[in-house]
Every structure is written in structure tokens, then in C-alpha cells.
Assembly symmetry: C2
Homo-oligomer: 580 residues x 2
């Protein structure tokens, strides 16, 4: 039963579901549904799919996540970044607008879902940590710029293409002669209106005396107002005849049952993009889920989240959708609107189902420029360069990773950008550990505590060289310590004992063990003792399985102070070293 409840969190929150929770969930669902209708249509277009795919991708996935997910507030569905990644991946294997394109999108969702479920069952959620916070922040910012740029063509009513910023801008410039002014009028005013809604409407409505709740609700309905107004304008003035691109016919009905392709070539081509989409989607989703859960002191289980998102993606694959994940905007709206349980998601799915059954004829004349405006306004709020400044002050390595991620995402595309971000973070980390900080330490007078002789006022002993190694010892830096000890001992004449203070050594791998053996042999030849202090339990356990401790030309001390008392000169011989 407990195991079942781990895989089906619904059994957990379902037990205490009451009338109050129901009311809250339903109100949240209405608000989210209103917001999601234009957003879903828009993101489907961003992904290069027919508009209805966005609605379909919001129905089954939400329901499935409600059963398998652990976050109470996460709203799953199409999101901007994953839509962009989908367009980029599927665009490489099929032509937009073909049946192959839609099937490839289904296949991508299936692969990505399968991969997420696999990671979840194997409890490998920690792998997502390889995408560091700064890299994600940089990636989201760059993606926001890419997405907004990709929508320019819809606002201008021209055809343009490209997957990188220079390609897109170049293509827009090349087609600038074909601008459709009716489209520009609609697109520009919708964009301006939506920016105003986001920035000023709420304040304005509060000023008029509306209740906070109502002001908030009307603000969220802003995109719907833009949709209604521009649809009416196109219909009333017959603008479709003047070259304004419209959404057109959308099939009315339940989400269809669809089948992803299992053709090996296609699976091979989509394999890497699917992993990328899974990881990025998961990281985005789990960050949102954890932030929201922390506010209510709830817990989110990362491994179960993998399963929840995976099943949601599998659901999308079989019901005409495309890859989905937890969206920031929709989740926050859901949370703020008072959603208490995943049932709110189920009600949202119901609302969208109604929309796909009855409302699709109403959006026939909806101009694509309005959807583009919705996307632009939504994604520009993701663009935040402050991470560059923050990391610059704190750590050049983090700054390098962020800057590279942003630049490469803009200049070489999303896949290259995020992959480079991860690779650069890992390499910089390894580089840092390859040249570890090693401090010579002395006794802080009046204590049993040892600190760096260059930073603190400490007592030292000319016959005793104590090096505090500030890094785990492993193959990347094994030889470094070998060279360092050799250098220090040959340069200083009076040294009789070397103590390696291992308080910061968390691992000694086989290569490092061989280096320690070499250090021991060389010091023995030179008549210098090699000792160790403050070796931690796990490291000691490991060393005991080798012959190193038997051959050690010295002792292992529990604390550095013990080593100092046993090996050092009497107090008279010590020198006092002021901090510099």
C-alpha cells in the first residue's frame, strides 16, 4: 500500500479532499482555463504545429499529472521553451505543416515521456542537478529572446525562418519588403495592449475601486480580451482578405487518439533532443514545484515528479499533443488562485475539453499576430540579464558558464547552448579541483585550532611542515600534490616531518593512493617522516584496504593538535608568525 502510494500520490491527498478544497480548486481551474486557451494555441504555433495541438497537449497531460504528480500546484502543459525546443528538434526531421511533422512531435513526446519515467523508476532525478542554476537562468533568458524574435514574422505578416538569432534577424530583414500593414496594425496594438495589461491594468482597476480579486481576474483575462477584439476586427473588416494570417479551421471534438512512430531512424534522430527536452523540462518544472511547495511547507519528491511528468508526456504522445512540462506562469496563476490539490488541474482539463468541443469555431478568424503578441509579452518577462551581474561579482567561473550559455544559445541554437552550458560548468569545476588550494597551517595561540599561516597569527615549527590539502584527491589532481610536497621539502632545509592534514580531503581514489605511496617513498629516501591528521572515517576505511598505512613512514593522528604535540619542538623552539 505504501509502495502504491509512492507511485500514486492521488491516494494521499484524495483521502482528505473536502468541500472547501473543491471550491478553491474549481475557482483556480476557471481562472487558469481562461488564461490557457490563447496560450495553448500560441505555443502550438511556436512549436510549428496546428493550433489545436496546444489544447490537446493540455488535456490528457494535466489529468495524468493530477494522478501521478506530487506537486499540489504545478500546472502541466505546453510551455514556451519546450515548444521552441520541439520546433528545433522536429524541424530537423520533417517539414513544418506535413503529417510527418505532427507524428515526429508525438514521437518526441513519447521518447521524452519514456525517458522521464525511466529516470524516475531508477531514481536518477539527481542527474538534473548537472544543469546548474546559472546555466538555466542564462538559457531561459536567451530562449526568451529567441522566442520573441521568432514571433516577429507573425507580427509583421512576413515569412521568415531560422533557429539562431542571426538567422532569424537576417531572414526578417530579407523579407522586410513583404510587410503586411494590416497584420502590423493588429500585431502591434495587441502587443502594446498586452504589455499595458501586464504593467498597468491591475493598478488602474484597483484605482477604479475594484476588489483585488476582481482586478486580478480581469488582468488575467487580458489575453482573452485581445483575442476577442482582434478576432472581431478581422471578421468585421474582412481583414483575412487583406493578407492577415488567421488560425482558420480547427477540428471540433475530443482530443484524437494518436500513435507516435516507432521507426528506428526517426527514434535515432530524436533521441538526443528528447533527452534534452526531458532534462530541461524537468529542471524547469521541479524548480517551480519546489518553490511553490516551500511556500506551503509541502514536499515534492523529485523522483516521483519524473514519473508524473513522464506519464503526462506519454499522454500527450497518444492524444495529439507534443512535449509538455510544468509551466511557470500557469503554475503561479494556479497557486495564486488558491488551488489546493491536483484536482484543480483536472478541472482545468475539463474546461479545456469544453473549449475544444464547443469554442474552436469561434477562433476561426483569430489572427496569428495576436497569438504572437501573447507569446512575445509572456516570454519577454523571462528575459533577465541580472544573473550575469550577480555571477560576475560572485564567481568568474559561474559567470563564464552563464555568458557562454547565453551567447551560444543565441548564436548556435538552443541545443548547442544548453549542452555547452553543462559541459562548461563541469569542465570549469574539474579545472578548479585540478589545482587545489593547499595551505601551510600553524597553531592559533591559546587554542587547539590550526589555520593558514598567511592569513592568521599562528605558531609554527621549523621542523614540522603541515599542509592542509583543500580538495579531495583524485586522478585529476593526484600528481599536483606529489609535485608540491617534493618542491616544499627540497626547498626548506630543516624539515623533519611532513604532516598532511586531511580535514578537507573527502576522497582518495586509486590514482591519488598511488601518488601518496610515491610521496611516502620519496620522503622516506630523504629521511623525512610522513604523517597524516584528521583523516575522515570514509577515507580511512578506504586506506585501510590498501597497504599504504603499513608502509607509511610515520603516524596517523586523530587531530592535528595531537600531531603537533607529538612531533613538534618544545614550545621554546617555535616561532610566532603574525598574520600578513
Amino acid at each position: 500500500m505504501k509502495a502504491l502510494r509512492r507511485y500514486l500520490p492521488i491516494l494521499d491527498w484524495g483521502r482528505s479532499y473536502d468541500r472547501g478544497a473543491l471550491a478553491n480548486d474549481m475557482i483556480a481551474a476557471v481562472i487558469v482555463t481562461i488564461m490557457l486557451i490563447p496560450q495553448s494555441l500560441a505555443y502550438a504555433l511556436l512549436a510549428g504545429l496546428p493550433a489545436e495541438a496546444g489544447i490537446y497537449a493540455s488535456i490528457a497531460p494535466i489529468l495524468l499529472y493530477a494522478v501521478f504528480g506530487t506537486s499540489r500546484a504545478l500546472a502541466v502543459g505546453p510551455v514556451a521553451v519546450v515548444s521552441l525546443l520541439t520546433a528545433s528538434a522536429v524541424g530537423q526531421v520533417a517539414e513544418q505543416g506535413t503529417a510527418g511533422y505532427a507524428i515526429a512531435a508525438l514521437t518526441l513526446a513519447a521518447l521524452s515521456g519514456g525517458f522521464l519515467v525511466l529516470l524516475g523508476v531508477l531514481r536518477l532525478g539527481f542527474l538534473a542537478n548537472f544543469l546548474s542554476h546559472p546555466v538555466i537562468a542564462g538559457f531561459i533568458t536567451a530562449s526568451g529572446i529567441l522566442i520573441a524574435t521568432s514571433q516577429l514574422k507573425h507580427i509583421l505578416g512576413i515569412s521568415a525562418q531560422g533557429h539562431t538569432l542571426p538567422e532569424m534577424l537576417g531572414s526578417v530583414l530579407a523579407h522586410l519588403g513583404e510587410v503586411n500593414w494590416a497584420t502590423v496594425a493588429i500585431g502591434a496594438s495587441a502587443t502594446a495592449f498586452l504589455f499595458w495589461v501586464r504593467r498597468g491594468l491591475k493598478h488602474f482597476l484597483r484605482h477604479l475601486g475594484l476588489s483585488p480579486f476582481l482586478a486580478d481576474l480581469l488582468t488575467k483575462a487580458g489575453p482573452v480580451a485581445a483575442v476577442v477584439a482582434t478576432t472581431l476586427a478581422v471578421w468585421g473588416f474582412g481583414l483575412a482578405g487583406h493578407g492577415v494570417a488567421i488560425v482558420g479551421e480547427i477540428p471540433q471534438g475530443l482530443p484524437p487518439l494518436t500513435m507516435p512512430s516507432f521507426e528506428p531512424d526517426l527514434l535515432g534522430a530524436l533521441f538526443m533532443p528528447a533527452i534534452l527536452i526531458s532534462v530541461i523540462g524537468f529542471v524547469e518544472s521541479i524548480s517551480i514545484a519546489q518553490t511553490l511547495a516551500a511556500r506551503k511547507r509541502q514536499r515534492v519528491d523529485p523522483d516521483q515528479e519524473l514519473i508524473g511528468l513522464g506519464v503526462a508526456n506519454l499522454g500527450a504522445a497518444f492524444t495529439g499533443g507534443y512535449p509538455v512540462t510544468g509551466g511557470f506562469a500557469r503554475s503561479v496563476v494556479n497557486f495564486d488562485a488558491g488551488a489546493e490539490t491536483p484536482a484543480a488541474g483536472a478541472f482545468t482539463a475539463l474546461g479545456l475539453l469544453m473549449a475544444s468541443l464547443f469554442l474552436t469555431p469561434l477562433v476561426y478568424y483569430l489572427p496569428k499576430a495576436t497569438l504572437a503578441a501573447t507569446i512575445i509579452v509572456a516570454v519577454l518577462s523571462l528575459v533577465d540579464f541580472s544573473i550575469l551581474k550577480k555571477t560576475w561579482t560572485y564567481s568568474r567561473a559561474d559567470f563564464t558558464a552563464v555568458a557562454a550559455t547565453i551567447l551560444l544559445t543565441l548564436l548556435a541554437g538552443v541545443e548547442m547552448g544548453v549542452a555547452s552550458g553543462v559541459a562548461i560548468s563541469v569542465l570549469l569545476h574539474l579545472y578548479k579541483t585540478s589545482r587545489p588550494h593547499v595551505a601551510e597551517v600553524g597553531l592559533v595561540p591559546g587554542t587547539q585550532h590550526f589555520r593558514n599561516i598567511n592569513r592568521h597569527e599562528v605558531e609554527t615549527d621549523p621542523t614540522l611542515l603541515t599542509l592542509r590539502v583543500d580538495e579531495s584527491l583524485y586522478f585529476v589532481n593526484a600528481r599536483f600534490l606529489e609535485d608540491l610536497v617534493q618542491e616544499r621539502v627540497t626547498e626548506g632545509g630543516a624539515i623533519e616531518h611532513v604532516v598532511l592534514m586531511f580535514s578537507a580531503v573527502n576522497e582518495v581514489d586509486f590514482s591519488a593512493l598511488e601518488s601518496l605511496e610515491a610521496i611516502n617513498r620519496r620522503l622516506k629516501d630523504m629521511g623525512v617522516g610522513l604523517h597524516m591528521s584528521e583523516v575522515k572515517g570514509p577515507v580511512m576505511d578506504r586506506l585501510k584496504t590498501s597497504r599504504f598505512l603499513d608502509e607509511l613512514n610515520g603516524e596517523v593522528f586523530l587531530s592535528q593538535y595531537d600531531a603537533w604535540r607529538k612531533l613538534g619542538l618544545p614550545a621554546a623552539g617555535r616561532s610566532h608568525r603574525p598574520s600578513t
Copy 2:
């Protein structure tokens, strides 16, 4: 002048070169030359090149290394593993026996040389550390098996091919019907003879009363004896007419001036193999150089070694050779024979030059089976599976890396094998750091020293939770600590203060800083103080650039003992915790 001496070590040892050194160097050169003639021919065949390429690859490179290298005993030239890697890389872009094949080998040497020089000038020698000792050991062992297997066809007189063990064995089995028995007779007896020379001859000669020096010299001449005997046999019995493959005509003269190709396609195809060959060659070479230098208390400068090897490879590229590196067998022989300076190498080059001028007609009838026997006997001494046992006892992670390297080298080829070895080592290291060891610590009675409560008898305080974090905090494990602290604090009721003991934290990157901020915020909300102790200088410097220390809901203590005295209960409230 000092800068010049850094790049031209010859200016260093050249100043004190005297008559004694000259005599020693010349004797060593004679011995090494005798050993190198058959070896060079054999390795060229292993690389798929005409036999003379092996001689040429030993002349200019040795001379150039004598000028630019820092090791006194390293002997540079064709070696087994690099020859195998050359065959594998060049075989992918050209057909063996064509002019394109030889040019591709020159190009590979040029690329590899250029890359090594670049690394040396940029002082990036530490990059070679990514190839850990166990991975190299595994790779060399597996390569030895591959190389020996690849020579079976020459011993059997059949044609066979393949780059992996199953391919090679399959191909040999498929052609088993074509065995040439005259070749087998020569190959098998040469192999048996050479094994006996290696195992028993020296002992036998000493037993006969020869001086150790002479016994040793005759043992080293064993391969030459095999060459002479089998060449005479083929010539005398006219075995070439019975299908015994012979070396045939070798151009007589100085090494030719050659030009590698700079065609972009070829450079692109050889780029990755060149990097691999450079790194493997460098690592093999530097290990040998350092081992030999340590015996005489000399120093080897890894960055200058890169330049020395790089220039040697460039030399090979322009004089009809192929990629070279410092060879184990030849360097040890050189060292044991008493070589004192790189001049020994120069004399060896002179000896080989004589050979290429005057001796090549003599090896016309030399059977390839004899060369194959030389290779087999040489490389089987590299095969050593003890690394598997050693790493199994010491660390499963290292064992996994070795086992994967061996298996993948045998089953998927050398390039895949070594690349996987590096990737697996890095991933396993990152995996280990992603789930750090965190110990709850208490005071060792009568000291100021704190240790793990589960391993030592210590005093603890129910209101004070002290966690010693045994790992640098960075993006891969940032969230781990967040979850852990949350869990520990919510489960234990009486905790008023949490102290993070940072003695083993060597880095806090930006992601980890954000996690620490999150921990601080949450503990503040719960009314629990967050403190830190024993934060190291470099970590503290970094933290001071952020606002974390201002917002910290507690203090930073110099030592854990200070924190204990300030925050803990009076002694009466402490509990004594025996070690378990």
C-alpha cells in the same frame, strides 16, 4: 637567457657535458640502436606503413627531442600503442598501401605535434591528468592484447583484418584455411625463441659465466639474432617462393623530406584521433620520464615535455615518419645502459641513420612473421590484469573505470575504449560528489576536536545540530544539502541552532550560494539559527562578495569549538554518546 633555457633544455645539460658522459652516452646508444632496428621495422608494419617509415620516425624525432626535451633518458620513436592508434585512425581515411595512407600518417603526426606544442606553450600539461592511472593501465593491457592478436595473421601467413578483438578473431578464423605452413614454422619458432630470450637467456648466459654486462647485451641482441637467422633461412631455402611474406625492397638513403597534407577534409577527419594520440602518447611518455627522473632525483617539466614531444612529431611529419612518443622499453634500456644526457638519443639517431644508409638491402629477405613475433613478445609484456584486482579491493569506482576501459577497448576499438575510460572516470567522480558524505559531529571529550557521532565517543548537545559537510558545495550537490538540512531540522524537535562545519568545503559556487540562502531563509522562518564554523579563507573571501553573510541568521565561528562554547548548553545539559 633563462626563458631561452626553458624552451631549450640542451643549453642546460650542454654546459657540463664531459668525457665520462660522452662514453656512457655512446655505449647506451649502441645498445639502443641494436634493439631499435627490428623494433622500428615491426612497429611501422603494425601502423600499416612500409617498414622504412619506422626507421625514419626514429631519426629526426630523437634528434629534436634531444634539443627540446627535459628527460635525460627518454627515447622517442614509434611505439606499439601509438602505432596501433595510427593504423586505426589512418585506416578510416585511406586504403593501406596507397600513397594517401602514408600522407595521412604524416598529417596525423603534424596535427598531433602541433597540438602538443600548443598545449605546451599554453602550459596545459595538467589536462593529461584526466587520463587516470587505472584507465591508462587498463588501456595499455587491452591494447597489448589487440596488438598481439593483430599480428596473428603475419605468423599464420594469412590475410585478416579488423579493429576490435571479435573482428580480428573472426577474420582469422574465416581465413584459417589459407594458412602458409612455411610462414608458421618461421613465425612460431621466432616467437618461441624470443620468449626464451626474454625469460631464460640472461640467466643461462650468467650461468655460463659471462659478465652481467655482456649477458645483458646479448639478451638485448636477441631480436637481432632472430632477424638474422630467419632472414638467412628465407634466403637460403628460397622460402619467399613458398609464400612467406618478406619485407622486400627498402629505399636506401637519408630520410626523405616529406610534406603532410593540409586538405581541410583530411585535417577534419584526423583531428580527434590526433588529439587522442597526443594525449595518450604524452601520458605514456611523461609517466616513463618521471619514473626514470625520480630514480636519479632529476626533474621533468611536463609543459616542456609537451613541446619536446610536439617538435619530435613535427619532425616525424616532415621526414617520412608517423606519430611518435617516448617508448617504455627503449627508454628503460637507454637508462639501464647508462645514458646520461639526451646526447645518447642523438647518437642513437646517428646509428639508425647509418642503418638506413647501409643496412636496408640486408633485410630484403626478412620475413614479416619475424617482425610480428618481435611485436607479440614485446606487447604481451604490457598485458597486466593485476590492476583489476588492485582497484577491486580499493575502490569500486576505479574498478568500474578500468573494467569498462578494457572491455570497450577490446570490443569497440582503441578510440572508443580510451574515450569511455575518461568519460566514465569523470562521471563517477561527479556522481560521488553529487551525494556527499555529511557527518553529524560532537566533541571528543578532553579535546577541542569534533568527530562523527557514529564513529567516535563524543559529547553532543540536543539543542545544537552540527553537520560537517564533507564535500565542496557546487551545482551538482547544491540541492542535496538543502533537502538534508530541511529533513534533519523537521524531524528533531529540540534543535535551536544548526552549525554547518565547513572544514571540508573547498568551494561554494553560485548555485550552492543560492542553496545556502534558501536554507538560511527557511531556518529563519522556523526560528532556528544558522551558523557556520571553520570556513576557509578562499571560501570566506568569496562569500563576502555576496549578501549571504549580512543576511545570515547566526554567526560565523573561527573554530567549531568556539561555536560549541557560545551556542551550546552548559556542560550539564550535554549527553555522552558512545561510539557505535
